[in-house]
Assembly symmetry: C2
Homo-oligomer: 239 residues x 2
Amino acid sequence: MAQDLTKLYQHGTLAMLVPGLFEGTMSLGDLLKHGDTGIGTATGLGGEMIVLDGKAYLVKSSGEVLLLPDETQLPFATVHFADHELTGSTVHNLTEKQLGDKILTEHALQNVFFAVQITGTFSQVKTRAVAEQKRPYPPLSAVADRQAVFTEEDGVGTVVGYFSPYLFQGMASAGFHLHYLNDAKTLGGHLLDFTVKEAELTLQPFGSVEQHFPLDNQEFMEKEFDLEKMNEEIERSES
Amino acid sequence: MAQDLTKLYQHGTLAMLVPGLFEGTMSLGDLLKHGDTGIGTATGLGGEMIVLDGKAYLVKSSGEVLLLPDETQLPFATVHFADHELTGSTVHNLTEKQLGDKILTEHALQNVFFAVQITGTFSQVKTRAVAEQKRPYPPLSAVADRQAVFTEEDGVGTVVGYFSPYLFQGMASAGFHLHYLNDAKTLGGHLLDFTVKEAELTLQPFGSVEQHFPLDNQEFMEKEFDLEKMNEEIERSES
C-alpha cells in the first residue's frame, strides 16, 4: 500500500469505549498498514499504546513497557505515516497548556486533524496508564478512576498524538490527545501534564481522516449509544 | 485508483455549510475518483446534486436538471462506488418513515455509515432545491427558507443517499439524507417526503468513511465554528 502522508487513519471511536466496548477488533499488524506513528489502546484497555517508527509499545498500569506483537488486538487506535520531510521548530520551557496555545495561535489548524510530535527533553512529565479490565467491562469513566500515574523529571523522549477539531468530539478526543515514551523505553503513557525543556516540535496536518469501524463485531453493531451522556463521560475520562 | 467498495468518501462537512461556507473547494472530476454514486451540492448551494453511474446531475431551484461538467466546484459532497454484486430487496407501499424504520429494524446498521439506493416507482415524491446564493453568503438556515419545492406522482426514478450514525451529526446529516432523480431527468432534488409504490432497495454498509477537508481554503481554515448553535441550525435546515 502506498504511504499517504496526508491521511490520518483511525480504527474504532472514542465513543465505543465510553460504554465499555473494550474488545480488540483490529490486529496491530493490520493497523500498521495504515501508519508507522500513532497512539491507541489494547483489548480491555490493557495500557496506553504509542507507535514510533513502525514499532508499537504498550505502557501497562504496572509501569512496564511492552513491545507489542502484530497479533495484538486493538479496540481503538489512530495512526499516520510520519512525513520526514517536514521542518520542525525548536521549543523551550513551555507547559503543555502554553505549547497547545502557541500551536493554535501560530497556525490556523483548529478545524482539521493534525499530528503532533515533540522530541527532546522534558523538565517534567506526568502520565497515566489505565489498568486492564476483564469482562463484564465497566464504563470508561469507572476505568479512569483505576489508573496508575507516573512522573519523570528531565526525561528524554518523544510525545506523539493528535489534535482533533471539536466537531469530531466522540469520534476522537477533541483537542490534543498525546502519549509519551521516554528514549529508554522505561516510562510512558497517556499524558496528563508535561513541561518541555528543549525539544523539536513537528506538526503534520492531514487532508483527510479515515474512520474505520469493526463491522464484524456484533456487540458494537448492536450497541445503543447514549450520546447525550457521552460528552460528559469523555470529559471525565480523558482529561 | 482501485475501487474500494467498502469506503465512503466525503469532501467538506455539513458543519461548514451552517455558517455559510458555500464556496466550492473540490472539482467534480476529483470527487469522481472516489465514487460513482452519491449526493452533494455546488458552489453557492447552487442546487441539489445526485451522482448516478459516474454522472453528476444538479437540480436547480428553477426545477431544471443539469448534467455537470468535471470542472464544477463543490463545497460538500459524499460518494461511493456502488457494489453491483449486492442483492437488493423489493419494497412496496411504504412511506419514507416506514421505510427508514424497516431498514433500521431489520438490520443492525445504526452505528455505521451505509448507502441507500431505491430504484422503481414512487406514488408520491416531494423534493426541494435551494436557490443559488451569492456572496456575502447567508447562513444555511436562511437558505432553507428560500427553497423551491417539487412534487411528482407515480414517478419512476432513483433515490440515492446515506445513513450516518448520530455520533457524526455535523460532519454529515445524522440519520437518512436522500436525494432523488427521475428516470426522465426532469425532476429531482433533496427528498422532503416520498412513498414507494414498488421499488428495489439496496443497502451498502461501509467499513470506513474518509472525511476530506479543504486545507487550501483559508476561509474554512480560519473559521470559528459555533458548535452549540450548529445542531439546532442543522435540524431547521435539513428536515
